[in-house]
């Protein structure tokens, strides 16, 4: 059975990667990072579905990844703020 979710995850991944490379602003880069990480999580979970139930190890992996992403976003935002504050 071919599901739509892994392809949406891949599209998010490539688009986020493009934004991460092309955008000048650091906040744009951070948002792109979050988008492509979401793509990876969506791909992982949707690819590990079997009999309509998600694989427990993959789910735990994604849960860990989500919390680490939150830490990365918060720390990244603070660093961006510090760098813009230093420039001014």
């Amino acid at each position: 059975m071919l599901s739509l979710y892994p392809f949406v995850g891949l599209a998010l991944f490539v688009l986020g990667l493009l934004g991460f490379i092309l955008k000048e602003s650091l906040v744009h880069k951070l948002i792109s990072l979050n988008i492509f990480l979401s793509g990876i999580f969506l791909f992982l979970v949707s690819q590990s579905l079997s009999y309509e139930k998600a694989d427990s190890v993959a789910t735990a992996l994604v849960l860990t990844g989500l919390v680490v992403t939150l830490g990365v976003s918060a720390f990244g935002l603070m660093l961006i703020r510090a760098s813009y504050g230093a420039k001014r």
């Binding site: 891949l10 490539v14 079997s50 860990t64 510090a82």
Partner: protein, 216 residues
Amino acid sequence: MLYKGVLWCMAALFLGMLFFMVATMPPFSPKLDTLVQADLAMSGVSHDVTAVLLNFRALDTLLEVGVVLLALMGIQVVSPHFRYKPYTEANTITDIYIAILLPVIILSALYLLLAGSYKSGGAFVASALLAGGIIILKLTKPKLFVSLEKLHLRFLSALGLLFFVGIGVLTLIEGLFLQYPLSYASTLILMIETLLMFSLAIILASFFINAVQDLE
């Protein structure tokens, strides 16, 4: 302009390649999941994701909490130079709102924590909810936790990780690091989850509060 066009073309090609690879991939066979389901009775909890997170791969969770704590340390190093005063004053509407909302938030966080042992839920979801509650409380009452000692706050936010590591060291007496004895597994997991919930909620709320706190 040409450079961007070439990059877009390459991205489209890359995406097409990935699509092709995923479409022709062999179907997923849940090898690890069958192992988890077979040993679920040994883990002390009846939900598979919680069993993986806090028993079979407990080291990952420990390091994850460490990463979050490290992020908080980094934020506290960077943030003191960039704080500004929150624009809040006492207001009947927000006071009544928080008085109704906060008990519900705490109750649902505790429910989510306890539900983690038999269905989806657990310490991380509960701590996110509790952190939201703390942030709302701090936004409506900016003066509330100002008198709290810095050292106590640091101890509280490190408490979950310290307890986790302490349990790990205690389990070294017999067996491997974080290999719980069978008869205590359920109690240990619940204790770790409870402490993790409180300290993670404080860490996650501090991510936000460190940015808007006013300097004393």
